[in-house]
């Protein structure tokens, strides 16, 4: 019934897509655990970092408008320093946001600060659009153009590296959160920020640190995403929504579950778009994805309810 070649190819694409969604999902979960807000601002940060990486590494002869006075004078730097700078930019922008969100706004209603995060995303998006208006560019991968065949599917080095990097990051972050003293303090802040402050947890310092890490992840996500698609504001914001869905499926609490949620989304998207179930229009693909999200949210909510009942008895 199913074409094994299409299924294999979709499976691999799904894992790579899920890994991309996963990086942003993990950054959303980290910042939510610190500040109890949905950090839409990470979408803007990912976009800024992606644009910076493209500007520093792209070949000017391959940018849109080449040969006209509208062409972008990109720098053709080596990839590694450009990735580092883009990730540092992500951490810096997140620190800037967190300086306000965990300082002056620390005790403001969470919905207000979430709205502020949405505003932050629009500001960062607006700035990139102002600097590089109308850009919709091809971005070189930090891992080159190589490809290999895995289980009959043609996979790029970029896809393999993204998956490996994400699994590594989730293992390290999960270890830090669940097994270290800093992780205990992070979870204490997540439970009750005022109580954490009262018992001597350096709340501001830890919150800023976690925001910087989540911003760096968002920046890395932006850099790794664009070689698989194209660089443009709409692409990254589209991915942010997918990542958000992954974070929701993880209950905005667990990093591995957020990764699992993102992987699930990646698989559904790859199989519906890749032709495993025949040709499905883009409109129906969205309906299927949102239906998966809806079912996932119901399952998460029911699980929480049953845990709550168990705690009450």
């Amino acid at each position: 019934m199913f074409d094994p070649f299409i299924v294999k190819a979709s499976l691999v694409t799904g894992v790579a897509l899920g890994a991309l969604y996963g990086i942003l999902a993990v950054s959303l979960v980290l910042s939510f655990r610190m500040s109890r807000i949905v950090a839409f601002v990470h979408g803007g940060i990912a976009l800024c970092s992606a644009f910076l990486y493209w500007y520093l590494t792209a070949n000017p002869a391959r940018t849109s408008g080449h040969g006209t006075n509208l062409a972008y004078a990109t720098k053709e730097w080596p990839k590694a320093p450009a990735v580092i700078l883009a990730v540092l930019l992500g951490a810096g922008l997140a620190a800037l946001f967190a300086w306000v969100a965990t300082g002056r706004m620390a005790r403001w209603p969470r919905v207000t600060v979430t709205t502020f995060a949405l505003g932050g995303m629009l500001i960062f998006t607006g700035i990139t659009q102002e600097i590089w208006p109308g850009a919709f560019e091809i971005v070189p991968s930090p891992f080159g153009k190589g490809r290999v065949t895995l289980w009959g599917a043609n996979v790029s080095h970029h896809q393999i590296a993204v998956i490996a990097l994400l699994v590594f990051l989730v293992i390290v972050l999960h270890f830090v959160v669940t097994r270290t003293k800093t992780g205990v303090q992070m979870r204490a802040i997540s439970d009750d920020v005022e109580a954490a402050e009262m018992v001597g947890v350096p709340v501001r310092k830890i919150s800023m640190g976690v925001w910087c890490i989540s911003g760096a992840l968002a920046g890395l996500g932006g850099v790794l995403l664009t070689p698989m698609t194209r660089l443009g504001a709409s692409v990254i914001l589209f991915v942010l929504i997918r990542s958000l869905a992954g974070a929701v499926l993880g209950g905005f609490k667990s990093l591995p579950l957020a990764l699992l949620g993102a992987m699930l989304f990646g698989q559904v998207e790859a199989h519906t778009a890749g032709g495993t179930f025949g040709k499905i229009s883009s409109g129906w693909r969205e309906v299927i994805l949102m239906a998966v999200l809806f079912v996932g949210v119901v399952i998460v909510a029911r699980r929480k309810q049953s845990q709550f009942r168990l705690a009450e008895t």
Partner: protein, 220 residues
């Protein structure tokens, strides 16, 4: 050890405390009593640094700490067991205790853990259990244990007897007496004033944000 001079504080434009002067020495137990809303908990929050005073000063061990953040005060040797326990419900008992030891050297933490488990053996039995599933009395022990983990010189305890059976309250105050005998200064705020007054060396009555009286305890 702790000196509070002409302290004023409030929330936004609402003044709560007016010209508070207090001292607490090493090994002394000071009970603060007074009606609801008098400003007792706000005073403890000012001492630990969660509420910033609008005037006056807080001096601890000869160092002015009035505008220091709470984690630096804990590092200097203060610790608070807050009103309503405020334990971290999703963390285990052991993790709750460790959360109070943000900057305490690990050898001190290990020693304090042994001590806390000796004071409250039930906490050792429940060490891996999620703190939200403990009973009220166990949660109170955990809150006090969490304050003790940093080996404080000054312990601030807000409403330790709230919601607890009289037998458990008596046990808690016995423990506070033992801690004071080891040289720890203690400020205890309690609605159930009889037990607090019995355990205290001095009693401070706060009414409408001012000290109404400060006298030696007659032992209840």
């Amino acid at each position: 050890m702790l000196e509070i001079e002409s302290l004023r504080a409030g929330y936004g434009r609402l003044p709560v405390l007016f010209d508070i002067d207090l001292t607490v020495d090493q090994g002394e137990v000071l009970a603060i009593v007074g009606p609801n809303g008098a400003g007792k908990s706000t005073l403890l929050k000012c001492i630990i640094g969660v509420v910033t005073p609008t005037a006056g000063r807080v001096v601890f061990d000869g160092v002015r700490v009035t505008h220091e953040p709470p984690h630096l005060r804990v590092e200097r040797g203060m610790a608070l067991s807050p009103e309503g326990r405020r334990i971290f419900a999703s963390l285990s008992v052991r993790e709750n205790l460790l959360a109070g030891a943000a900057r305490t050297p690990s050898d001190v933490v290990e020693g304090q853990l042994e001590r806390i488990y000796a004071l409250f053996p039930i906490l050792e039995e429940r060490t891996g259990q999620e703190a939200g599933s403990l009973s009220g009395g166990e949660q109170q022990m955990l809150a006090i244990g969490r304050a003790l983990i940093s080996a404080p010189k000054m312990l601030l305890i807000d409403e330790p007897s709230m919601g607890l059976a009289p037998l458990i309250v008596a046990g808690l105050y016995r423990t506070l007496g033992e801690l004071a005998a080891e040289g720890i200064g203690i400020i205890v705020v309690d609605e159930r004033s009889t037990e607090a007054i019995s355990a205290a060396d001095r009693v401070c009555v706060i009414e409408k944000g001012r000290i109404a009286s400060l006298t030696a305890s007659t032992g209840g």
